[in-house]
Symmetry: C2
Subunit: 321 residues, 2 copies
């Protein structure tokens, strides 16, 4: 068994990464989107990194996977009482990582170093790395102008129609050292694009300078898992965005987003009728139960995805021979 690199963010992405982690432990590196990072009350929030940390540490809330279990709102309620912003912030426990992150960054440490420390303290043996230690910010281009994803999400409640995206800073950002190292590992077995919003989670990672070229050059099978089932996204605004961008609302469109980069695509079993259509894009396809309700579901899907990657690799090796 070789090493695995997963790219992801959001709750769905973290769930599959957790399945991979339970199968492969320290042989897993998870590269996490930081394009949705933001500043609030002077603190540096990295929502996708923290979701990944809580999930792999086994302390994420079952019902609200982006925050630790048993979250409370004492700080926020007092902030409101003191006249601070009414905008909901994360709960009390969720403030700890941003507080330490902000202090670490102010002291000249990198986001990678800070994240590695969190992993060590939480007992996570996998490597969780930000996609880059340089700042990248995802902007949503709407009819009313360009706005950071966080403002689009928090202040505008994803209301304005989406016309496009911009990944500010991505073209000069450097891939994080830990990710470069993981992608160069001799035993690299597969790269998994976890089920997450293609536009503001997976795409920002791929847009980091040199990332797509490195993935292509590396030659390990790149497998994407759909976040779209039927005509819906399990969570979040992916379906709405696809409609507004004029894309056909289906898993096939997601595969289309990653075309010329991925070697295999995982549909949900519900979309088994799309297999041939997606295969016509020139990639391997499999339909699997992708909904992860339990920890067992995460592990089962991770195993199926790795098995599929093995099949894809065999095909790639045969073609190269």
């Amino acid at each position: 068994m070789g090493s695995i690199v997963a790219l992801g963010g959001q709750v769905g992405g973290a769930k599959l990464a957790d399945g991979l982690y339970r199968l492969r432990g320290h042989a897993l590196t998870v590269a996490v989107n930081t394009g949705d990072d933001y500043e609030h009350l002077g603190l540096s929030f990295s929502p996708d990194l923290d979701t990944m940390l809580y999930t792999l540490a086994g302390i994420a809330s079952a019902s609200a996977g982006w925050e630790p279990e048993g979250e409370t709102q004492a700080v926020h309620n007092m902030i409101k009482a003191l006249g601070g912003p009414d905008r909901p912030i994360h709960g009390d426990r969720s403030l700890a990582a941003p507080l330490l992150r902000t202090e670490g960054l102010a002291n000249g440490r990198t986001l990678s170093e800070i994240t590695a420390d969190f992993c060590r303290r939480l007992g996570i043996t996998a490597r969780i790395v930000p996609m880059s230690d340089d700042q990248v910010r995802t902007y949503v281009i709407t009819e009313e102008g360009s706005i950071t994803f966080q403002d689009y999400f928090m202040q505008l409640a994803c209301e304005p129609a989406v016309r496009g995206f911009q990944y500010a800073g991505a073209d000069t950002a450097r891939i994080a050292d830990g990710l470069i190292e993981a992608l160069h590992a001799d035993d690299l077995e597969a790269v998994i694009l976890c089920p997450a919003n293609p536009f503001h989670v997976i795409r920002p990672i791929l847009e980091v300078e040199g990332m797509k070229e490195l993935l292509l050059k590396r030659g390990a099978p790149v497998i994407a898992v759909t976040p779209i089932i039927g005509q819906r996204a399990l969570k979040g605004s992916a379906a709405k965005m696809m409609r507004e961008l004029g894309r056909e609302l289906s898993a096939r469109s997601v595969a289309g987003e990653y075309i010329r980069l991925i070697d295999g695509f995982v549909l949900d079993s519900e979309d088994v009728t799309l297999v041939d259509s997606v295969r016509s894009l020139g990639i391997d396809v499999v339909a699997l139960p992708t909904i992860m309700r339990s920890i067992d579901d995460r592990v089962a899907l991770a195993q199926e995805v790795l098995d599929f990657a093995g099949v894809v690799r065999a095909r790639m090796d045969a073609e190269a021979a």
Copy 2:
């Protein structure tokens, strides 16, 4: 009835200020020590200001008056889990004011403006002002070197013997505008030095450039209330400091600290035998029950102190005539 200026900090000082507030409402200005302010996790803590805010807002804990009632430790526990400093920080609700303060200061607002906003939102009609909007830091001089009061208190648990104090920045700090205004009020009736540590609460306020001169010039009776009863401090390290500084451990020593500035001194009833001895310092003296266990105790002491200030003023007027 005229206006009142109280100088203070700590729980005891806040209790008497609260008694004065309940008697005089918006006619009270409280100038608060900021020499013990500190940075932790990148946040600006102003412990004496916050104690005053919680107390006058009626939300201070009955058992731990420096924090709001019903405090929890979710943030701190998570910070520890993430490998952050083990040093105890305030509880969850106590983080709200430092978070907003840090953001406000970063945005160029003054500590006075930020504090006034907090007062307004908490429904406090009295004016609570920092002694200065410029930074002053109290250093404890020990045999092992000079150290900020906060480090002395938090990290060294007040262990090293005290040789003296230094109020860094006080000689160039400007008295806060709100305090200058309050001290120049035509109807200023009295200035009350609340019961609090003379060395790191009251003295830093008095050391702000021009403060003592302004109090003397203003001519309103300046009345100090003892934080020492018998040979003990009700709270905190005042008694230990007095011993180590070679002072006689008694309320008389406290009066001695303020000599040439105060016109009257309030002893505790337990120390009634000291009345003549303190009076020999050339000031008016009264012995009163100074222990404030209940809200009624605060109001009763405040009323007695104001009555005493009236007596002192009559004596001063008679002497001037």
